[in-house]
Amino acid sequence: MASTIRVRAILSGETTEVQVLIQHPMDSGFVKDDKGETIPPHFIQQLTFEHDGRNVFVADWGAAVSKDPYVKFSFKGGNKGDDLKISWVDNKGGTDTTTAKIQ
């Protein structure tokens, strides 16, 4: 299966700008389907970005983050070609991980 995580990490000067887009329903548990039945909550709870053995960014998410979530941040200390490891875990125990190279 293709990764659910799409990443772009671009070094500019000494700052690496990271943009990530994840495929995930992010169901809040407040929405009903066509038959009027509540769709149970299903959302990513934690998303971590690891560079050079340490977390550079950790997101704790609730159900109010939009479907197919997007987030952007920047950090210092990255070099071109470095690995950036991204992983998420959702409230049902689902998880995915990918590694991107800083460009």
Partner: protein, 164 residues
């Protein structure tokens, strides 16, 4: 990772002490660092804070104290969101020693939407997209140097993000 035999209980004691100091007397005690202790305690997913209904309760559950408005926190959100399911919200700040940034929507069923931990070396600028049930205030909390700063902006939602 190396830990000594008594490393775990010592850490736990420190966390309890730190939490107590923050709750009872606020900040400004230099004998140890309550900010670092609180940040370490926050590594776990803050389940309780996400379950709180109102914004004030969520902030209290997450940080144990209240925030003061600051013009150094710049919150960027649309005046009108045509689609409440996808509201782009971003924040930047000139504050230093930022350790976390949180986003809340005051009228959502659970106000807290996202908490971002900002380790040293990571810039205090975050952009993301949130769902909003209806027109309400978007609140952003920046934790910097052990204090909480906030910015608020009302976003008018024409179609709510909570479906039927």
């Amino acid at each position: 990772m190396t830990t000594t035999d008594n490393g775990v209980p010592a850490t736990r004691r420190l966390i309890l002490q730190g939490a107590g100091v923050v709750l009872l007397t606020g900040i400004g005690i230099n004998s140890f660092n309550p900010v670092a202790v609180f940040a370490a305690a926050n590594d776990k997913y803050p389940e309780d804070a996400f379950k709180q209904k109102g914004a004030a309760d969520a902030i209290k559950s997450l940080y144990g104290r209240t925030a003061e408005p600051s013009d150094k926190v710049k919150l960027d959100a649309p005046e009108i969101a045509e689609n409440g399911a996808v509201v782009p919200v971003s924040v930047s700040t000139t504050l230093t020693e930022v350790t976390s940034i949180s986003f809340l929507a005051s009228e959502n069923p659970n106000a807290l939407a996202a908490v971002y931990q900002i380790p040293p070396g990571t810039l205090p600028n975050v952009a993301n997209r949130l769902k909003m049930a209806k027109t309400c205030d978007v609140i952003v909390i920046v934790e910097a140097g052990g204090k909480l700063y906030s910015a608020t902006k009302e976003v008018k939602v024409t179609v709510g993000g909570c479906g039927g």
